[in-house]
């Protein structure tokens, strides 16, 4: 029995440790055969893959498609509502060259990775998509190496939420907003918060500050880092200084979208950078004390002539290289891009359209009053770096921006480290 206990313990120990390894074994590296030219004219049933359909908008659309395409029916494969899980699910199916993942919905920041792995059908030649009606910044998110790989499907941009009862005219520049912080102080409120916890939201906010100040994260080739510049320094310093002098409250370093929203809705925050989804919640939530007391504006810029540069959220629709019926898949992508579908997305699921003209549609503006402001935000937006090494790049931005905001390192040092870390990401 004694012996057995001992052996058993060792066995348990190795088993436990081995579990870590087991997670790895199933994965193998991608790359490989070129299937771009296959099945390009084939038609037949296909599958559309997307994350959880919270507003039940996809199924009715697919029913509509299926009614008019009896021989090219679309099946809906619904993933979980977690972005990481959706990403990993797609990677696994692409690695398995699954012909049943025909049209996939990819987050804007995954597009480059999937394209560089050779998993996405380039939208060129017979798959060329007319992008003239689309917002140009959204097209950039689907473009890798000067080739369009994914069709913009839904967009998203940052907005400035402000208390119109306390600040009658929203600030146009960062400096104006900082000056307005005296109002917050006199009402015993916090002044400004965005998403500054160390996660993807911080990359979004840091990139916005850097881009607004005229800097850039990577050069136009999408690979070469360019954050060790005076402009980037100015941008990151805006956040760092505001955190230091208390205009950004100290607890904002733990804020994701929801904590900021709760603080704003409970009337404790004067200005907030957040996504459009907050609009309807802040107007309807029972706990919201600011229901008719807040307004929205474009993000503040460096000077009054140009609003701030938002980062872009949203999703793109792409065709898998391994699809057996690419012609049908392409038709379905065009269906997702059509003005009617985009309108349905906007009204039923509050998804920001990618077609520019829809932002001026009076009936849409009636249901989504923030559309004109959002249009300004998205037109002036800068996509996050379109790089196949996005996970490492975002880690480099998050970690160093976080250290700078907290005051653990100087802005200069943080940007030098960020530059080096982004460079290391691509090597």
């Amino acid at each position: 029995m004694i012996r057995r206990t001992r052996g058993f313990s060792v066995a348990m120990a190795s088993l436990g440790a081995g579990v870590l390894l087991i997670g790895m074994g199933g994965c193998s590296s991608g790359g490989g055969s070129n299937t771009a030219g296959q099945n390009t004219n084939a038609r037949g049933p296909i599958t559309y893959v997307q994350g959880k359909d919270n507003n039940n908008v996809i199924r009715p659309l697919i029913d509509q498609w299926n009614a008019s395409h009896p021989n090219e029916k679309v099946t809906f494969k619904e993933q979980s509502d977690q972005a990481d899980q959706q990403h990993d699910d797609l990677v696994q199916h692409f690695q398995a060259k699954d012909p049943n993942y025909d049209v996939v919905d990819v987050d804007v920041v995954w597009t480059a990775e999937f394209a560089a792995k050779g998993w996405l059908q380039p939208l060129t030649g017979q798959f060329a998509l007319d992008t003239s009606a689309l917002l140009p910044t959204t097209v950039k998110t689907g473009t890798y190496n000067n080739t369009l790989y994914a069709a913009p499907q839904a967009s998203d941009g940052g907005l400035l939420y402000y208390r119109k009862d306390l600040v009658p005219t929203p600030p146009k520049t960062w400096d104006e907003m900082m000056a307005d912080c005296s109002i917050a102080k006199s009402h015993n409120m916090d002044c400004y918060a965005g998403q500054f916890a160390k996660y993807e939201g911080l990359t979004v906010n840091a990139a916005e500050a850097i881009n607004t100040a005229g800097g850039e994260i990577v050069k136009s080739d999408g690979r070469t880092p360019n954050v060790d510049t005076p402009e980037a320094n100015k941008g990151l310093s805006m956040l760092v200084d505001a955190y230091k002098n208390g205009n950004i409250p100290q607890q904002a370093i733990t804020y994701q979208e929801e904590q900021g929203r709760q603080s704003f809705e409970s009337g404790k925050l004067l200005f907030m950078r957040n996504w459009p989804y907050v609009y309807s919640l802040a107007t309807t939530d029972g706990s919201s004390v600011v229901k008719d007391k807040f307004g929205i504006a474009p993000l503040p810029g460096l000077d009054a002539s140009k609003p701030g540069a938002s980062s872009l959220g949203g999703h793109n629709a792409a065709i898998s290289q391994y699809s057996a019926h690419k012609a049908t898949a392409f038709d379905f992508v065009k269906f997702l891009e059509s003005a009617d579908t985009q309108k349905t997305f906007a009204t039923k699921a509050s998804l920001a359209p990618v077609i520019a003209s829809l932002y001026d549609d009076p009936t849409l503006i009636q249901t989504l009053p923030y559309l004109p402001t959002l249009k300004t935000s998205i037109i002036n937006a800068v996509p996050r770096p379109v790089t196949p090494f996005y996970p490492a790049v975002t880690e480099a931005i998050e970690t160093n921006a976080y250290a700078a905001i907290k005051g653990d390192k100087t802005v200069d040092q943080a940007l030098k480290d960020m530059q080096a870390a982004i460079k290391a990401a691509g090597s």
Binding site: T5, S28, A197, Q262, P391, T399
Partner: protein, 342 residues
Amino acid sequence: MSVTSGVSADDQAEQQAQASPPERKQGSTLRKGEGRLGLYLVAPTIILLAVVIGYPVVKAIVMSFQKDPGLDKATGMFVSGGSAGFSNYTHWILQRCGTASCPPGTLGAEFWDSVGTTFFFTAATVIIEVLLGMWMALVMNRAFRGRALLRASVLVPWAIPTAITAKLWYFIFAYDGIANRVLHTHILWTGGEWASRFAIIIADVWKTTPFIALLILAGLQVIPADTYEAARVDGANSWQRFTMVTLPLVRPALMVAVLFRTLDALRIYDLPAILTGGGGGTGHSTTTLSILVVDQIRGGFNSAAALSTLTFLLIFLVAFIFVKFLGAHVVQTQQRQQKGTI
């Protein structure tokens, strides 16, 4: 522990062997048949284990010696990286990114910090949990009204899935959360370097102490009451009874509990991943080795395979040390018990 049954089984075998030498041949052929039958019976398990454990482990080790796919600068496409030698391992251990050392903001630069964090969590949680667990077990071992209720309610934290525990504590430790209100503090529990670490230790202790307490309780219950009576007759006070009767006799159960908890704590992932996202302080103050592995998986499988192999070796080493040194104590204790020297 069933020391006596082990001894008696040995005795029986010996007696049989002595009593019936002529039957040996027959017995051994019977054994051969049994052996083959046993093999057949065990085969499915062995095959299953080889497929679901052996293959992935070997595959991960093979992968760890291959380079992650790199980008072909001309086409912008990934091409497979070829053999890596030990470069994936030196990347982590020596923190080399290419030819330079890894700059802050890369996962490579976080390796030794995560090793430190993981071991710190392990040491802190196991020590606190054992002390509290021992106390709880001693309380539960007494006879009093409502003992069954206490024993059941102690189990509640252990019964709650870790992911939910983590989310509960996430709300408690929010800036506007209960912890700060009750304590009248303004601590950034998920943002500060030590605050975030203590937040995780507190949550882990809350959840896992009952497990240790129950293992110790099981050990306490096999201690015969007459040993205490004898000690009392000899004039031992309660502290002496604890250190000279309870502790030595409960030690085998205690060691098993410590071993299990240590190995468990070394692979801790879910609690910090959900409670702090591995963040806090410098941005990775609560990143444990397992969190680092999962982060790396999205950045390259082969490098992640090397990291998980390293983690495996580290945990294995700790387990080995434990069994080698503390396991020996288990044996000694029981041998001494057998001889009646304690």
